[in-house]
Every structure is written in C-alpha cells, then in structure tokens.
Assembly symmetry: C2
Homo-oligomer: 122 residues x 2
DNA sequence: ATAAACTATAAAGTATACTTTAAGGTCAAG
DNA sequence: CTTGACCTTAAAGTATACTTTATAGTTTAT
C-alpha cells in the first residue's frame, strides 16, 4: 500500500512515517520500493506502527523502540539486551502507574479545594 | 535558603530552578531577592518544586502546571478554567493508566517470546 | 495532454525542557 | 586580600520528535 493509505490506517502523517523510516524503525519487512521509487508498505507495517504508537504513548523513546524491535534476527547477546531493556521498562511502567495514582490523589485534592473556593466566591 | 540548598532538597539543578522561575512557575511566595540580588527561597518553594516534579512525571507540561497553579489569587473565571483543566487531566490520567496496562500486557508477551527464542538458541 | 493529486528528497524550522557557556559580581576562609 | 566557591544574566546549544518548506518527479482524472 502507498504511504497515504498507511497514514490513514495508522493515524500518522506521511512525513511522520518517512521520519520513522529514516530513524530506522521500519525495515524491509515493512517497506519496499516500487519501480517509481514510491514506498510500498506491507500489512505488517500497519501493526508495527500501531505498536510504536502504543508503546511510545507510555514513555518509550523511538530509540528504545528500535532497540526492542530487533527481534527475529538478533544474536543471543542482542536478545539478552532487549530482554533486559524490556524488564527495566516493565518496572518503569509499574512505577509510572503508581506515580499516576499518587498524582491523581494530589489533583483530586486540588480539585476539591478549587471547587470549595468557587462555592465561597460564587 | 539559597539556590544550591533548594537544589539539593529537590534534586533539581540551580539552572533548572532558574529556568522554572523564568517560565513563571515560581512566584513571590517561593522566591525573593536579597540585598546582593541573590535569590532567597522559602520552604514553600521546596514543596512547590516537588509538586512540579510529581505532576510533570505524569505528563503535565510546564505551561499546564502554571495554568493549574494560579490558585489563591484567581478570579472565578480563572478558577473555573483550572478546574476544567484538572478534570481533563484526571480523565487523561485514567486513559494513561489503561494504556500502561495494555502496553505492559504487550511487552509481557514480547518478553515471553524473546525468552523462548533465547532458550531455543542457547 | 494537462492539471490535480500524489510521490520523492534534503534541509530548515518548531516546541518542550533543559544544559552549557561566557562574562561578570559576591562572599567566606586562610 | 586574594582564592575558590558561590551567585548573577543573557544567549547559545542539545535532545527528541516531529513539521514545514522547497524543489522536483509520477500518476490519475478529465
């Protein structure tokens, strides 16, 4: 499929998709070039970009995503490294959940204060 | 207290603290100037910077923090705006927790795959 | 066949949140 | 009374993740 189709399917823009490719987040499994030099994307690209969006939202940088990505082809050492990275990230995500809950408690108190303030004034 | 003391207490650096001030995140309640033009921080500044760190970690931008900050002095309209912002943020944080959990499930599967791969090879 | 809509590249620009640099003033210790 | 550790400012630099711009080739529709 062409870039704008992939863009529609993933909710990204063509420049963003090209940027990701430039940064090494898309491989031969995701894009090839046609005769006209246009990019031709596989179905795997759709899933892959959705994966990127999802983990990026929870705090992975593009470089971390790239590091974790190197899957099938990796040597034992590379796999071990990405397991290590994944484990660290899981722990990081646990603390992030905790931080979120603590911050929510904090904001909830602020919200109550502000509502009280508004009642006072209004 | 002087800037490096505040820095130690909060785990920030003096340039970062000055930067926050420049961006309007510190007020008269947090800093005043001494005769020598040195900044003199109140205890409230410690708490405030800790607050900033905490909510920033969960996705607030500095400008959002600034918007929520305007507390005591706010007009009814300003209070209403910051209540609205806080409510949006609470909802956003709920989805973020969900995203975290979904991403963890995803990573957990990836981790299992990689471990299996390692076992195969090793 | 020509205009609109798409594709390509490289390079510059943007936003956020800092950090670093440069150049200088102030203060405490020996 | 000077040395070293602090303080000040303004401005430039950095990292991340894009977006925008400029320039040009290709495809699709009428």
């Amino acid at each position: 499929m062409k870039i704008h189709v992939l863009a529609q399917k993933t909710g990204l823009t063509p420049p963003t998709i090209r940027y990701y490719e430039k940064e090494g987040l898309l491989t031969i499994r995701h894009v090839v070039r046609g005769e006209n030099n246009y990019r031709d994307y596989t179905e795997e690209a759709v899933e892959h970009l959705q994966f990127i969006k999802r983990v990026q939202k929870v705090g992975f940088t593009l470089m971390e995503i790239k590091a974790v990505m190197e899957e099938k082809k990796g040597s034992k050492l590379e796999i071990s490294r990405s397991i290590e990275l994944l484990r660290e990230k899981m722990i990081e995500m646990d603390s992030r959940k905790l931080e979120l809950e603590q911050a929510q408690a904090l904001l909830s108190r602020m919200l109550a204060n502000k509502r009280a303030l508004l009642k006072e004034k209004g």
